[in-house]
Amino acid sequence: MSSMRLTGTPSWLNIRQRAARSRPNKDPARAREPERRVWAIGGGKGGIGKSFLAVNLATVAARTGWRVLLIDADLAGANLHTCLGVRSGSRVNLSDYLYDRVVDLEKVAIETSVPGLRLVMGALGHTGMAETSRDQRKRLFQELRKLDVDLIVFDLAAGADRATLDFFLETDEGMIIATPEPTSIENAYAFLKAAFYRRLARTMSSSPIRDLVREAMDRRNERGIRTTADLFREIARLDEGEGERFREALREFCPRLVINQVRNSEEVKIGYSIRSVCRKFLGINAEYVGYVNFDDAVWRSIKECRPLVLAYPQSDAALYIRRIATKMLGT
């Protein structure tokens, strides 16, 4: 999967740099910017608001003039369609495409009630994205490149299985969601570490170094490698060239971070704390892009099967989501 990336834009650009390189396609007659943005929203733990944020960020982008495709990559627990008030019924979904029941990906992308926002549904009851093959994912990414959209947003499944990590790594802006609870934060670190080590294992060209990376994934490894700094030193000691590739992989890995369900200013600061720990322990340069407060309007909007930013645009949570979207889109 070394050449599956959906855009050629360097992934280490920070939000401002990236925003400056792409603009929404408000006027079809206007010459199009070549860059397509691709976001993946993950976080390791279930129930932390990944789908909620994916739907609402995609809705804000569509309302701002971007042509958006929202993809439910959680085949086992798909529910983006419900968040958007789309009844699944007998509609085609992503598994129909992955298992060749529908050949044309365009036909799997259905219109939603939000102008400019299309949805590729996951499928309830499917055995899980973990069972999709590397070839299936590769074909999906190749087809996605052909679609005429400005922004693709992946809503990832909970957990850190290979398929989920690959979706996170193949997009160029991976966003991690965490809530202020220790369990969610622990899973977020685990997800980030697994994602980075998977990228690293792919980047390393020598087989013994790849094995070393895999060995280091186990916290109780015999070499005593605990932090990313430990691993880097060990790799650089064994092979200077691989050490250089390590540095490059680390530089390119810049996940975004959002804290959801924040109740007070102490919990706002948890985003900074996670960023600090990512630097000190994982060596990862995570970018804290914002937080969303705990708000009754959120569950009301979910119960009504409508995006919060449309159902309760004046709520605090909607304001925070618009702020994150504005920052991500650079509008």
């Binding site: 880097f232 948890i270 704390s273 060596g283 914002g290």
Partner: protein, 204 residues
């Protein structure tokens, strides 16, 4: 990527070497919260001993960087060490022979506090708008109360738009002015827009 034990004080607090005192203060507050024994952010990552060691380094860094004279002396020492050997760990006052150093793969760390504007889109500062701004600054109501000497109960009432529980307008104006100054927003605009609602709805 330097190990924690080799990081200089600026790296420990994740700030640039030209950070203002205000940035130092804020970085310290965040670092102290991050590595506090009860912190949710480090619970699953560091052992109690590691956490305590990082916190000790944070305190040490703050003690120097928050004092102008000590910081000047420390900066001079860093410069001397840079001139001698750019990659030598700067925490060590005595040069030690080392193997060829491995350069850092990360850019120099810096805490960015700007999560984007939270000021009200319509320019009207009601209670929820003030609460949003306060949260984005990472400040608790208790801290505002301690700084302004305004009773915490009244600050809560202001944020919740509970006009009827607030005292007479002259006091509320004073509270708002102090609150706005703490949040570094325009006190005049805050008083003007909040009081308009207070007088209209509070008397209704």
């Amino acid at each position: 990527m330097r190990p924690l034990s080799d990081q200089n004080f600026y790296e420990t607090l994740e700030i640039s070497s030209d950070a203002t005192l205000q940035t130092v203060e804020r970085a310290y507050r965040i670092a102290r919260a991050t590595y506090h024994p009860t912190s949710a952010a480090t619970y699953s990552v560091f052992s109690e001993e590691e956490n305590a060691e990082i916190l000790r380094r944070v305190e040490e860094a703050y003690a120097v960087l928050s004092q102008e004279r000590l910081r000047r002396e420390y900066d001079a020492r860093l410069r001397r060490e840079e001139l001698g050997d750019t990659a030598r760990p700067t925490r060590e006052p005595v040069p030690q022979p080392k193997a060829r150093p491995v350069p850092s793969p990360l850019p120099s760390p810096q805490i960015e506090f700007d999560l984007g504007p939270v000021e009200p889109e319509d320019g009207v500062y009601d209670g929820p708008a003030l609460r949003r701004i306060r949260m984005s600054r990472g400040v608790e109501l208790e801290e505002i109360s301690a700084l302004t000497k305004v009773n915490g109960f009244y600050l809560q009432c202001i944020e919740a738009n509970r006009y009827v529980e607030l005292p007479s307008p002259v006091y509320v104006k004073g509270f708002l002015r102090e609150f706005a100054k703490c949040l570094k927003i325009d006190p005049h605009r805050v008083v003007e827009t909040y009081m308009k609602q207070f007088l209209e709805r509070g008397e209704a």
